[in-house]
Amino acid sequence: MVENRPITNILTHLVVIGGIIVTALPIWIAFVASTHPVENLLRSPIPLLPGGDLVANYSEILSEGSARVGGIGVGPMMLNSLIMALVITVGKIAISIISAFAIVYFRFPLRMLFFWMIFITLMLPVEVRILPTFKVVADLAMLNSYAGLTIPLIASATATFLFRQFFLSVPEELAEAARIDGAGPMRFFRDILLPLSRTNTAALFVILFIYGWNQYLWPLLITTDESYYTIVVGIARMVNAGDTVPDWNLVMAATMLGMLPPVVVVIVLQRLFVQGLVETEK
């Protein structure tokens, strides 16, 4: 920094470390809880150090699942989450890169109308229009299916905007050069725009994957059939299983597992994640 102040430096480190401890505390407790037999978690104070049941708890949750979610294991739920997250991510990226391409490079009637229509969707999160959207999906007989889970969430104004901004920044000379070389629009799209937007796409992928994985309200409404539950919905159901005390060790094991994929994605692809976050909000 600008000048050397030992006390301030120590203070800075203390602040950051304090922040990290507060951030990590819930996870640590959850991890500890997931390694104990359930008897240890019935009475306060619960232990603060890991116990010996790590393998037993995790294998129970993976093979049988908690009986309270109706016997469906965590494995299939994770798979559902994965399918949902991937379909939403890939669908959103594909659909929005194409529409951004159309908006930027083609002149067609009603272009601005379409643009504004997409723009409006940006303003209306699912939570706001759950009931009518639910009705539409029900009328189309898409309840309890992967299509119903994913398609309504695929349209994305944010991604379209991101790609539009990016395409606008691509120099026009490139398009001209491609045309002179005899490349049609689709060729131009495939051979020039797609490779150019590779980093943007990757950054967007990280953000959208997390978005898809963490969806809660929508899967909660659309799926009544247990075999379509996502892990996030499953966890919430285990916690609120009637008036009985949940098996906290199993719940926490499921929580740890359900958290793992998005957290790993963020940590491994940190640079892309930060870039994606900052860019999607511009």
Binding site: I95, I98, R129, V251
Partner: protein
């Protein structure tokens, strides 16, 4: 282009207009009769004390979340910006909660504050505070505020850090040469220069607290006790899917849409113009 438009129309425009239409209907729970009543649902809504109370809770909740998560994020970002060694590791350790689902964040804090076995509840009880979010509405509200803020700190941190790193070092050096202390430099130079970021984050955080926190509440307090944590989004869900008051729920949806649209407009109008200083 066509698929995007189709999805937009089928799942966005059509439902939105349905909501508008439905908000002016009165329907019984079985859908046997319906009548068009213009704005009666809205009048009823704003005459309803529970709704107004829910409005109030939402405002308190979102301001608290925005303030708490932005305050701590700014503190952490300012500290992380100063750190020379291990900055990357610190950053990684601070941003990962972004990936945690709101529901999961809710469950984690729910566990910590669980009146019978939670660690923090245990500490509080030993300090003489009878924590029980199943009885006290205030406790429940504090619980969801903490859970929602915890997750959002990471997001704010990323933006504040980016904002801090964009401030030219020469300005800060000049102030240091003039003898300004770090605290003073922060409040007279850094903070004003961060105001666009701050403003942007206020809007984003309020939107987050309004809409994305449904999971936190549904998984922990379920709007209770006695409606103590029923924020507006939760109420739309509750009245629509559990109470089956379709007209009222649709009217609430319309009010929420109006709020989102105005927030977005505010954001777009002012984000370009920058906050003046």
């Amino acid at each position: 282009m066509a698929p995007q438009i189709t999805i937009t129309i089928v799942f966005f425009i059509w439902p939105a207009s349905q909501a508008l239409y439905q908000s002016m209907l009165v329907e019984d729970a079985f859908g046997l009769s319906r009548s068009f009543v213009w704005f009666e649902n809205f009048i009823q809504l704003f005459g309803n004390p529970t709704y107004l109370e829910s409005f109030e809770i939402t405002v308190v909740f979102s301001l608290a979340v925005a303030f708490l998560s932005m305050g701590s994020a700014l503190l952490l970002a300012a500290a992380a910006d100063r750190v020379l060694h291990g900055a990357m590791a610190y950053k990684t350790l601070l941003i990962w909660p972004y990936a945690v689902a709101p529901v999961v964040a809710g469950v984690l804090w729910f566990f910590l504050f669980n009146p019978t076995i939670g660690i923090l509840a245990y500490v509080l009880q030993n300090l003489g505070y009878p924590w029980d979010h199943k009885v006290s509405g205030t406790d429940a509200l504090i619980l969801v505020i903490i859970a929602a803020s915890w997750k959002q700190v990471a997001y704010n941190f990323v933006f504040f850090l980016a904002g801090l790193q964009a401030i030219p070092k020469s300005m800060i050096e000049a102030a240091a040469i003039d003898g300004a202390s770090p605290v003073r430099r922060f409040f007279t130079i850094v903070f004003p220069l961060l105001s666009p970021t701050t403003f942007f984050l206020v809007v984003v955080n309020v939107v987050y607290a309004f809409f994305d926190t449904f999971g936190v509440i549904h998984a922990t307090t379920q709007g209770g006790p006695a409606g103590g944590t029923t924020i507006l989004v939760y109420k739309v869900f509750n009245d629509g899917f559990i109470g089956l008051d379709l007209g009222g729920s649709a009217a609430q949806s319309v009010v929420l849409m109006a709020i989102v649209i105005s927030l977005t407009v505010v954001q777009f109008r002012y984000i370009e113009r920058r906050v003046s200083y």
